[in-house]
Symmetry: C2
Subunit: 235 residues, 2 copies
């Protein structure tokens, strides 16, 4: 049975890394001593080792050990043997390219579908949808496909940002960009504001956190969903 | 000899479509009665016909007629016979996909290199660089390649936006995104603020407009370039 947390962000303004989620994560990863961390989305500034250390520091607060997938000879085996899995944020194009390059996109999807607890934040959440097409990231690498894990039957827009009505900037708003997506695609898109997350238990999908989320569907007016909303029927 | 205007935006806040550029455009397209418009970037809301009408309305102010490329049987021929060419904004992934699908990416590049006056705004400017990898747009369509026209030997980030220091949003700033690009790519990136444009005359590239532009190079500190700067040596 799927057991997944899909979070908009790893960090809230003024907070520490993962802090706001830790109480929930100690339940989510209750039966795990060690979490397998996938740092592939990180593109610069810090190495996979440094990124993994930062994650380990956060998980130490709830008495979990963290191992980076780059520490294993066989990435596929590491995923299949993991007690729990966390994919962190960064650049979604890079993450998707690395998952394909290491031939673990399907293995990761299958493993999580079978019940290994999974946490995604930002880019690690984006890949839970059907495609990466509603990411905010720059296409810094050309991936072999835009298809992602498909753990949920719709797409996400993490770090969802409402239009700033004071702005004089003429670039497209997030809502306009998602509307452009819907000119060519029927997949629903959930704009997850920072501090919101989805809980997936089997086929049940519930919106959590303090904020509402914004749901975009092709040829429909966007709607606000309150925290606690059941998204299981959305597709 | 190349004769190109590459503008960050088609419209300034509070202005009308193309208004701020019209005095410059009447010189740029001095010997053109008719401009060929490429509306391919537009993904929704308005049709190619409506988009072309909007452009025609603006160009009528400087006594130019506009024809949309979709009005021609043979798109390649339309480009080769054009007196002047304008590619408007919208979604860069869509624009690039359409240029490849209609087999005119190379023909457009060759034609503009030979001297047909070209104007790009936003997505139409993005494609003047080497690749689409520094676009702000959502990847709503999977293009056969990220390579673009290569009319200039570097990449652009149109609608360049400085970080808002008051913001509590934890998504990446534009500067961070461009740094991610440089973790894997050596191509310089010019952040063009709204109201700025590049003038390309032969191999000469000059920054125009009232604002400075922000230049990003791999392993170098970003720098501000004043209007009037010569970018001909940048690559």
């Amino acid at each position: 049975m799927k057991n997944i947390i899909i979070a908009s962000t790893s960090i809230l303004h003024g907070g520490d890394y993962l802090d706001y989620l830790l109480p929930r994560l100690s339940l989510h990863f209750l039966n795990c001593k060690t979490i397998l961390f996938i740092p592939y989305a990180r593109s610069g500034g810090i190495s996979h080792e440094e990124y993994t250390s930062k994650v380990a520091l956060a998980f130490a607060k709830i008495n979990k050990t963290v191992k980076g997938i780059h520490e294993f000879e066989d990435a596929a085996e590491a995923i299949q043997n993991a007690e729990g899995i966390f994919t962190g944020g960064g650049n979604t194009f890079l993450l998707v390219s690395q998952l394909y390059k290491n031939k673990i996109m399907t293995i990761l999807a299958d493993t999580v579908k079978k019940g290994t607890p999974y946490l995604g934040t930002s880019a690690g959440s984006n890949i839970c949808g059907l495609t990466l097409q509603t990411t905010n990231d720059m296409p810094i690498i050309y991936p072999p496909s835009f298809q992602t894990l498909g753990l949920i039957p719709f797409n996400l827009n993490p770090h969802y940002l409402d239009a700033d009505k004071q702005s004089t900037h003429m670039g497209e708003t997030r809502e306009t960009r998602i509307k452009e997506f819907h000119a060519f695609n029927t997949i629903p898109v959930l704009g997850l504001r920072e501090g919101s997350w989805l809980e997936v238990l089997g086929e049940k999908i519930i919106l959590r956190g303090n904020l509402s989320a914004r749901l975009f569907r092709q040829n429909k007016i966007a709607e606000e969903l309150e925290s606690g909303s059941d998204l299981s029927a959305l597709k």
